[in-house]
């Protein structure tokens, strides 16, 4: 909110004088298991440097955020208690926000740089019960969120459209103990000292183009690249050498999304908008099928189509919106992999246990390119376990085999790569055990 306020002030600065000011107080009152009141001041100022035309803006504000949950009861509380946890009433989060920004105009362009710092008391986060995926709100004693953002602003290009480019970086740290929500009951070690929040956004880059086209048509595209949700607890062990988090992967790996939308107006009463959102672009999708499957949420392929009809066609509009809503639901979250042929028959079978096989064979769903398709065998530590190279089966372009020497007892990993005749590649691995 503060950013919007100050940027809006920036835009108006030249019209309203060289020092527009903004001030106010926000009063909040919350009553539940706990009762809290807050009187939060906010203050902002924008200064335009004479001659240079540079605009400096600053903002200070406090903000109270009421607790999202009152309590947990019933089977959920029983389950929490069974996992050495309980629930204490949550208190609201109190933020103190500082912001400083500068806008440097150059001819018709402008560069905007902003720095944000937020100190948080009673930081609202969440934690899971035991090793389940049931997440319950908690509050942590304190947190510090710091971010900066740089954004060159383009003028209208060819009187048709504008480019946008924004890079931002954010870090979030928390400190001290859990103070409310899901808490540990006994023999707990829940204090920590200024550790990174485990799901902070790091760098993001956003770029796109918005164009006003002829015939009352509007088009915009946007590419978003995010470094994802890092998992700062991965690899960290407690005093007993056990991993402190049951989940070791990134919460959301680095990813890129591509959105396009187009709108057209037909007469005065009919508007059509097509939004194609998050057409998945993913760095890992072709490299590792297993990774792609595990992280299907990041590979989302969400698209929605909105058909907006004019004001005098409300009923039809509602019908269209219903159809659009259903259509949007249908189009939500699909894993995508730019790949094609996939294993149909594997000998030995995945996760099987048996005598040492004489050969390893994979039959794919369709013919594969033998020069680019292969099978490799390693032991569980990843060391090569078979000096042979894989070969296609004469007369069967969909099958590749790897002659296996007498394998000693142990667990082995089969790594396969296939390139189908249409040029698409897929790879993966599976395990089997020799008795």
């Amino acid at each position: 909110m503060s950013e919007a306020l100050t940027k809006s002030e920036t835009a108006k600065a030249r019209k309203k004088g060289w020092l527009p000011l903004l001030a106010g107080v926000r009063l909040s009152s919350f009553h539940g298991d706990v009762s809290e009141d807050a009187a939060d001041p906010l203050f902002g100022a924008t200064v335009t440097v004479p001659r240079l035309g540079w605009v400096l803006r600053g903002f200070y504000g406090r903000y109270y955020q009421a607790p999202p949950w009152a309590s947990i009861t019933g089977p959920l509380l029983s389950y929490a208690n069974a996992n050495n946890t309980g629930f204490t009433p949550l208190r609201g989060e109190r933020d103190e926000e500082h912001e400083f920004g500068i806008q440097i105009p150059y001819r018709v362009w402008a560069l905007e740089v902003d720095n944000f710092k937020t100190r948080i008391n009673n930081f609202l986060d969440h934690s899971y019960i035991g090793e389940s995926n049931v997440y319950i709100p908690i509050t942590v004693d304190g947190a510090l969120v710091r971010a900066w953002e740089a954004s060159p602003r383009s003028p209208m290009v060819w009187r048709r459209g504008k480019f946008n480019l924004t890079h931002s970086n954010e870090t979030a740290e928390q400190q001290s103990a859990i103070t409310g929500g899901l808490i540990c009951v006994q023999d707990c070690d829940d204090s920590f000292d200024c550790s990174p929040v485990d799901h902070d956004w790091r760098g993001t880059l956003n770029t796109g183009f918005t164009a006003n086209l002829p015939m009352r048509t509007w088009f915009s595209s946007n590419v978003y690249n995010g470094s994802g949700f890092s998992n700062r607890t991965a690899g960290i062990t407690d005093s007993n050498g056990a991993l402190i988090s049951p989940y070791q992967g990134d919460y959301l790996p680095a990813h890129t999304t591509f959105d396009v939308s187009a709108r057209k107006r037909f007469g005065e009463s009919l508007r059509l908008a097509v939004d194609v959102r998050s057409l998945a672009i993913d760095s890992t999708s072709e490299r590792d099928a297993e990774t792609s499957i595990k992280s299907s949420c990041k590979n989302n392929f969400m698209r929605s189509i909105h058909c907006n009809l004019g004001e005098n066609m409300d009923q039809l509009k509602a019908t269209f919106r219903s159809v659009v809503f259903i259509f949007s639901l249908m189009l939500t979250v699909v894993p995508s992999a730019f790949a094609h042929a996939h294993p149909k028959t594997m000998v030995p079978a995945p996760d099987s246990t048996g005598p040492a096989p004489s050969k390893i064979s994979i039959t794919f769903s369709e013919a594969v390119e033998p020069k680019f398709s292969s099978i490799k065998l390693t032991n569980i530590e990843g060391k090569p376990a078979d000096p042979e190279t894989s070969a296609p089966v004469p007369g069967d372009p969909a099958t590749i085999t790897l002659a296996a020497p007498s394998l000693p007892a142990g667990t082995y990993v089969v790594h396969w790569v296939d390139v189908s005749v249409d040029g698409h590649r897929l790879q993966g691995s599976y395990q089997f055990t020799v008795r």
Binding site: M215, T217, N225, A254, T256, F258, A262, K264, L272, V274, V276, L279, A280, I281, D282, S283, S285, E286, R287, F301, R303, I305, F327, M330, L331, V334, P335, S336, A337, F338, A339, H340, A341, H342, S365, E366, A367, E369, K371, F372, V417, V419, S420, V421, D422, G423, H424, R425, Q427
Partner: protein, 297 residues
């Protein structure tokens, strides 16, 4: 490190689809214009531009194909594998298609390329050869070469080039030109020829599209909302229907017996142009479809 290879593959495919479709459209538009030769220059420029785009885009597609086959590691690795890729099925298809491109470029530079019907037909023959190679490349090749599926794919691509290309060039080049210079009678005659050819092409697009979709969906409608390929197909279908809607409006406009006026010409020009924009979106969706795993896998 984020690799841009998958994205570039889609854009390179889309660019190629748009270029060869527009190339077909330029040739067909010249046929539909008959004796009216006022659009020869812009049509020839579009022929040259499309051929030049193909000349650059196909080698890029080949390199991206090479990158795809080795796992999108780096441009250097992709370059190192090009000889091996040339020996693969899809590599051969791209090379064969590329052989037609210099011929098309040479043809488009010829001063007489659009002057006579016979020379336009030579250009169309080269375009058909290119489309035949294009049909060998992609999901349709999964069952082997010279199969029924590849034949249907060839028909589908040819019909899309006729419908899409015809409308694209008509909407963006020919119609605005005709509207500003030509007689009303010439515009109506052009519109009728365009409409008749496009109606037949659309019938082929729909029938072959149904067959291709059925194959891609593995003989079931359930993957349609449940797979990326199926959803992209729905998106493509929605754009096809939008383009079709505009086409139908133009068709009805041409069939009315009322005297032809300047305002009706203007309306027709706008509708054809809107249809052309939707066809561009259809072609981009087709490129996405070619790079997504079919729902039958």
């Amino acid at each position: 490190m984020l690799t841009l290879f998958p994205t570039m593959r889609i854009y390179a495919d889309a660019l190629c689809d748009i270029a060869y479709t527009a190339l077909a459209g330029a040739l067909l538009n010249r046929l539909w214009l008959g004796r009216v030769s006022i659009c020869d220059r812009p049509l020839r420029i579009s022929l040259i531009a499309c051929s030049a785009i193909l000349l650059v885009d196909l080698p890029l597609q080949f390199l991206l194909l090479s990158a795809s086959m080795i796992g999108d590691t780096s441009w250097r690795d992709a370059w190192g594998a090009v000889l091996d890729v040339g020996a693969t099925h899809s590599g051969r298809a791209v090379i064969m298609g590329f052989c037609f491109v210099p011929c098309l470029l040479l043809f488009s530079f010829l001063p007489t390329s659009l002057k006579r019907t016979k020379s336009v037909l030579i250009g169309i023959a080269l375009e058909v050869g290119f489309i035949a190679c294009r049909a060998l490349h992609g999901h349709a090749a999964s069952n082997g070469d010279f199969t029924f599926r590849e034949g249907i794919q060839f028909l589908h691509l040819s019909a899309i080039a006729t419908w899409g290309g015809g409308i694209l060039v008509a909407g963006l080049i020919t119609m605005p030109y005709l509207a500003s210079i030509a007689e009303l009678g010439d515009i109506v005659q052009f519109g009728k020829r365009l409409s008749e050819t496009v109606t037949i092409a659309l019938a082929v697009v729909i029938l072959s599209g149904i067959y291709n979709s059925w194959e891609g969906l593995g003989g079931s409608l359930s993957p349609l909302p449940n797979s990326a390929w199926g959803r992209m197909l729905l998106l493509k279908l929605s754009f096809v229907l939008l383009a079709l809607g505009h086409g139908v409006r133009v068709r009805f406009l041409l069939r009315t017996q009322d005297p032809w006026t300047q305002s009706r010409t203007s309306i027709m020009r706008k509708w054809v142009r809107a249809e052309a924009l939707f066809i561009l979106l259809v072609l981009v969706c087709s490129a996405w479809l070619a790079n997504l795993p079919p729902a039958d896998m």
